[in-house]
């Protein structure tokens, strides 16, 4: 006997309509449609599924990594509608109709995104676990500076933000690298931004 049927019978015995209980069970899942790396995905997910788990466990895009699972390390960073977010701290069902870019969508072996190529060239990693998050974050950081979004180290709030080492370090503070490849990560980002190392 399936567990759903067991619940329905138990419900009937206590006077609760079986249909109500079935609805409650169904309501713990929600349909969602979003685009991942240019492909439309239709999913029916347990409401608890984070975007990170949907990407890794349901869509098998395992480039995005689970580090702390609490928004503290940045390993799960992906780009949603052009903005970097922690995919561990958002529910997949909250992204109806949105466009998600993961590390796989930025570039592939043989056709690397300039930021991926720069991380390889500058040795911007050791173990590589934080790297997909570092690269997604880096790409978005340069876009944020271009879009004139200020940071904690921006001296003049009225002037256009510029690419400096201090700006990159501050803006990348949500991505932890326990191997300590920070100085090479900084070099990689500066090369892509076209500023002298």
């Amino acid at each position: 006997m399936s567990s759903a049927a067991t619940v329905a019978i138990a419900g009937a015995a206590t006077g609760v309509c079986a249909a109500d209980i079935r609805r409650e069970i169904v309501e713990e899942q929600t349909k969602v449609v979003f685009e991942v790396n240019g492909e439309t995905k239709h999913l029916t997910l347990d409401n608890r599924t984070t975007l990170l788990d949907a990407l890794r466990e349901h869509l098998h895009l395992t480039g995005t990594k689970k580090g702390c699972d609490h928004g503290q390390c940045g390993a799960c960073t992906v780009i949603v509608n052009g903005r970097r977010i922690n995919s561990c701290l958002t529910l997949a069902v909250m992204h109806e109709g949105e466009k998600i870019t993961t590390i796989e969508g930025l570039g592939r072996p043989g056709n690397l995104h300039p930021m991926q190529a720069a991380f390889v060239k500058h040795d911007g990693f050791q173990c590589g676990y934080c790297t997909p998050g570092q690269i997604c974050s880096s790409v978005a950081v340069l876009q944020e500076i271009d879009a004139d979004i200020p940071s904690h180290v921006t001296e003049n709030l009225i002037a256009q933000a510029t690419v400096t080492s201090a700006e990159i370090r501050e803006r990348m503070s949500g991505n932890i690298c326990r191997c300590g490849a920070y100085s090479n990560i900084l070099d990689a980002i500066k090369e892509v931004a076209g500023v002298p190392a």
Partner: protein, 316 residues
């Protein structure tokens, strides 16, 4: 994480009604704090009302010359807004001093006000905590208190409010605009929005069940020099040990609020009369009733010195 049902709200009124009908329902917007706490089963809503589709993401001039900030305006967008940067600079500064770029892209204006304390005992479900489990006791008192509150606390709780943004909004006399579950609108001055812990530290704001924040309004700009100075254990992405939000006028008068020291942004309007006498007199008046622990009494001196740095910067 406990199982929950999920709906995408169709209107503000529907969202407030749905929340009032279910004691265990929660609104979800950015979700960065709520989901963190749900994973630890510190928050256990049986139903989530997703309010992200409701608009409420505009920053508009108010009729009185002030600024109306939609509840769902993301921290990044509020910090980057040209009017905020020009006329309410300390709000921009406070926002970019908080969290990380990724979190600021999701976190909302209303959610920032409603975020829970980062007291380590609140976050540890194995420890008694009156805020998480009313009546169970406070593990922080007598525990590790370096990060915790020095003023306005009680025998039941010495947690701090973690927001940077709210400290700036307290100085700017922001007003929180809400809709109650019966459709009635309410305007809550930020000074009355957050509570001190007293005997009920689990009640953190004066919102009623189902009451929904629609916007936060700022009065017309007041000029002056806008400064937000945050002192923390690392240079970025850490909560404040002490932070000072200040607007200082050319004649030396001004407004000041302190973060990282209390259960709410700490402002004492009468202490501002001391600003012309300098940081020592002002800090003494601000923290006159402080009851720090051995481990966090450094926050008293740190507040004075941080305020001193702020007043020096204002004179530059």
């Amino acid at each position: 994480m406990r199982a929950f049902s999920y709906e995408r709200a169709s209107s503000v009124e529907a969202a407030a009604r749905a929340a009032a009908q279910n004691r265990e329902a929660k609104f979800i917007a950015g979700g960065t704090n709520l989901l963190d706490l749900m994973k630890l089963e510190i928050e256990k809503p049986s139903h989530l009302i997703d309010v992200n589709g409701l608009g409420l993401d505009k920053i508009e001039k108010a009729r009185d010359g002030g600024l109306r900030i939609g509840a769902l305006v993301r921290n990044t967008d509020l910090a980057a807004d040209q009017t905020v940067r020009r006329d309410y600079g300390l709000l921009s500064r406070a926002l970019v001093a908080g969290a990380s770029g990724q979190l600021r892209n999701k976190a909302t204006t209303a959610g920032n006000l409603l975020q829970r304390t980062r007291c380590p005992y609140f976050y540890d479900p194995n420890q008694p905590c009156n805020k998480r489990d009313p009546g169970s006791g406070c593990s922080a008192i007598g525990g590790i208190t370096r990060q915790l509150g020095v003023i306005g606390g009680s025998e039941a709780c010495i947690a701090t409010h973690p927001s940077d943004m709210a400290v700036a909004m307290r100085v700017l006399d922001a007003v929180v605009e809400t809709v109650k579950s019966n459709g009635e609108k309410r305007f809550i001055p930020i000074a009355d929005f957050h509570r001190l812990p007293g005997d009920t530290p689990h009640l953190e704001t004066t919102l009623e069940r189902g009451e929904f924040i629609t916007s936060v309004t700022l009065p017309p700009p007041i000029g002056g020099k806008h400064i937000y100075r945050k002192v923390r254990d690392r240079a970025s992405y850490a909560f404040a040990l002490v932070s000072i939000a200040a607007v200082i006028q050319p004649d030396g008068s001004g407004r000041v609020a302190v973060g990282g020291v209390a259960h709410k942004p700490w402002r004492v309007e009468t202490a501002e009369a001391e600003l012309n006498k300098g940081a020592r007199a002002t800090a003494a008046a601000l923290l006159a009733d402080a009851r720090p622990t051995e481990q966090n009494k450094f926050k008293i001196g740190l507040t004075e010195r941080t305020l001193g740095a702020v007043l020096s910067e204002a004179r530059e």
